[in-house]
Amino acid sequence: MLKVALKNLLGHKFRTVLTAIAIALGVGFMAGTFVLTDTITKSFDELFSEAGAGIDAVVQGKAPFETGGLEGPEQRPDVDPSLTEAVRGVDGVADARPTVAGIAFVLGDDDKPLTQGAAPSFGANWTGIPGIDVFTITSGEPPTAPTDAVIDEATADSADIAVGDPIRVQTLSGTVDLTVSGIARFGETGNLGGAAFVLMDTPAAIDTFTTTGRIQGIAVIADQGVTQDEIVSRIEPVLPDGVEVISGDASTQQSQDTVEQGIGFFRTFLTAIGVVSLAAGAFLIYNTFGIIIGQRTRELALLRAMGASRRQVLTSVLAESTVTGLLASLLGLVGGIALATVMISVVAAIGIELPSTAPVLAVRTVVLSLLVGTVITVFSSILPAVRGSRVAPVAALRDTAFEAPTRSLARLVIGVVVAAIGVAGLVSGMNGGEVGVAAAGIVGLFAGVVILGPFIVPGIVAVVGAPLRLAGIAGTLGRDNARRNPKRSAGTASALMLAVTIITFIAVTTLSFTASFNAATDRYLKADLEISSGVQHTLGPALVDSLAAQPEVGAVTGVQRGQIQINDAVRPVYGVTPSAVEQVFDLQGVEGDLAGMGPDEIALDRATAEIAVWGIGKELSVVMPDGTATTLTVAAIYEDGGIVAQNSDGHYMVSNEVFEQYFGADFQTLLRIDVKGAEGVDLEQLRTVVEDQANEFPAATVRDREQIKDDSNQQLLVALGFLFVLLGLALVIGALGVTITLALSVFERTREIGLLRAVGATRAQMAGSICAESVVLTLLGTLLGLAIGIVGAISVVQSQASSIDTLTVSIPVLFIVGVVVIAVGIGVVASLVPGWRAARMNVLDAVTVE
């Protein structure tokens, strides 16, 4: 029976190849994701191990509570530089040196940072101790004078900077003029993922790169013969509270883990997209095998009549799908490796250059790809295979070998129930219910529509296909063929429906949230101008002070973000200038004294206050990032701080002094600075003054309200564009499904096509009718997907509307029109090969086929 299965695969190459491609695309995307992320992880791992090889222990601030995750790097407090001497005095320590890490952007001739894009740019210190310095100077001299700097090769090359040249560097405190004394690379061979850096002599680095004069760690080299564990246990006793020591290996591991964590989010996101593609592929396989089994009813019946058992028929079909799945997975794996190789160079092109570019193919990638692809293929073919095995031997004698379009009552009942549950969930969301219920509603409605497909297809096709009558007989035939077998049409449309539902849902929700953000900017942002730090947080608190000193500025506040532990829960907290915040932001009403909030006070939003039953004067016990346990008193409760926080869960505001006092250097940066002009100062006047001050921070941009909204719209487009390119994969699989179904239908209708040609249908009319059928099928999936996506998005957005008052549903008409146009295009393209086959079919062969 295996032979029968293999012969079937070979006998229908076109079909086999298309089915295989559908699965291979999903598998390839997944495999590519794994290879890419593994390669990135591995190259960083090697880099960190190599660079940290000489360090035996690292003394660093101890995070008092768990943070990290989506909130960014661990909130580690800084260390007092004087601790270095104490550590160096420990028996067994050969040397100990401070390590400094801050931001530092080398500026080009136009005063804009040379490094732009995703790669970071940091400032660090040069100790001159081999083994501690993770950098290798390739030309020039180490920094010695207070204005000496060593910069990385890539930056030097990009702007033709040579040893001895003067450079301007932006730090957290503003711009400084330095002289290039040398050029270096990270480790001995690599660059740190395209990251740029500026190295200075240790005391100068502390002055230049930190605002608090504190250091970020102490690197330790042990005496010969003292193990890492030994030196760690010897250093531990001399450390004050809030400071810890870890071995060099553990420190390397920590760096690797941080990278792996970042890569992990990236991997999860890409894998989710791969899963969507695989799901679309599963629909396609299920449908294709269903059609094939239908067409082969006679053949299977003949096998049964000749004595093949049900089990043998079942096995033969499953064998066919297993081989298809394996081939497809292999194809996908190879394609995935190729994709990853391309992606690595793309990633390098946007600035994240990898130290080593050989793709890493982990055993896990191979096993998972082959397993997932094969299992999905086999699983999707089980139902059709069972149906095939139930073919009665007598069917071999019957005239009609084609699948009868039966629609069971059970299907109708189950479909209605599932869809009704889905609708109930969506209605609950629209009335402000839980977002999870709304999301489940989308899944329910989608599943219900898939199950009910065969029942609703004829009606929709009649409506969608109505204009096709204008296209003459070809259009009419195409439309009629599309509703000829509702089950098949519904199955074919499902893969596309999945892709369109997801795309539509994402488009409508993100657009609604962006519109809400823009509405909030209009309504609640009283500031005239905003200085934005961009992706790299580059704004230092110094700019707020210098702006406040300008007579044209009425009020100014920076916004810092960090986390503190309040009554045992880690919460996001925003640092602002209390006296200015109400003039810059409309908080829709404040109870208590926000303007006068001191460094031992805190403000929170009304919703949070009500849930916790806290009022003005309530004392909260908090733990600061540097480990200080203290008490903050609730000074004010504001109605809605969405304009400050841009997230809907509860948040807190503290004075910027709290950040200065308790947060590490990394968290001194500002997300943005909002400025309101003084009485009688017009916008352009204010802009001149603000831009002049912001010159010290060239990486930042100064924007007015309209520009803020333009930028957010721009970001939305870029994000959606990126996402749609990825989800386009599922769309391609949907189109493949249409092509396969049409190809099978053309094959099945050979007689009919021959007859049409014999009685005078031209090739163009033949191709036209296939094209019309294809367009109807794609529109079917697209319109259903649009409907479910929009309804789902409305429900999810409404469920959030109670907490974000500017949130309303925005349905993008242009997007819907665009999707429909694309669907028609996909329909036309999907019909090309089957249409060509139908048009080219030899009339005589077709009418004489048995």
Binding site: V759, T762, T848
Partner: protein, 250 residues
């Protein structure tokens, strides 16, 4: 060896001249048609008979423009089919030729009426309603016009096929074993309609069949063997045809 000379014809609607069809080359070539000369007279019902493999179907396919010759030519009216492009051939089939096949004559998604009107619909033209009604009445389908093929019996389906072939008033109708799938009663009905069309409206019909009883409805029978026309007979009856076939060793 020359073919038997065709009977003198007053009005020839289609003819084949030295029509040959072979597969392969040289000694191994298989000849389906060997330099056949034949003339189809207008307004007559011609049957083509012969044992299986005699080339009767190939001859009809070539005459109808469904198949191409290896050498020689076929003319319908004054049109040399070998000079036509696929598009021109399609147009010719649509407007000047009617077809009745053994089975699968109808498009399952179209009603009987739509199937009958199919050739003119394909041409984007309008149907001559009076003629359409007359054809429908002749084949007795008036109350079946809105039915789809799956709702019709085999005989009814074949009547729709006859109506479709006649509806365009083509120069010539080709029927390939039109009764091959029917019982004797339905067969007689179909053959009767075809005979009536020839008699009443001077329709030209060429029918390939292997049934002497069917050939008996024709005005004239051509006998083929080994790719050649070996005999012909005017005014055939079932018995005379059967005798002739026997003598041909069919």
């Amino acid at each position: 060896m020359p073919n038997a000379a065709p009977a003198p014809a007053t009005n020839v609607i289609a003819r084949a001249e030295e029509a040959s069809k072979y597969y392969g080359r040289g000694d191994t070539a298989v000849w389906a048609l060997a330099e056949v000369d034949v003339e189809i007279e207008a307004g007559r019902f011609t049957a083509v008979m012969g044992p299986s493999g005699s080339g009767k179907s190939t001859l009809m396919h070539c005459l109808a423009g469904l198949d191409t010759l290896s050498s020689g030519r076929v003319l319908i009216g004054d049109t040399d089919l070998s000079t036509l492009s696929d598009k021109q051939l399609t147009l010719l089939r649509r407007t000047r030729v009617g077809f009745i096949f053994q089975a699968y004559n109808l498009i399952p998604t179209l009603t009987a009426a739509e199937n009958i009107a199919l050739p003119s619909t394909l041409g984007g033209g309008t149907t001559d309603q009076a003629w359409f009604d007359r054809v429908v009445a002749t084949v007795g389908l008036r109350d079946r016009l809105d039915h789809r093929p799956s709702e019709l019996s085999g005989g009814q389906q074949q009547r729709v096929a006859v109506a479709r072939a006649l509806a365009q008033r083509p120069d010539i109708v080709f029927a390939d074993e039109p009764t091959g799938n029917l019982d004797s009663r339905a067969s007689a009905e179909i053959l009767g309609f075809m005979q009536a069309a020839v008699r009443d409206v001077d329709q030209t019909i060429v029918m390939v069949t292997h049934e002497p009883s069917a050939a008996a409805y024709a005005d004239k029978v051509l006998f083929l063997a080994d790719g050649r026309i070996v005999d012909q007979m005017d005014g055939p009856t079932e018995d005379t045809v059967l005798d002739r076939l026997k003598s041909l060793g069919g």
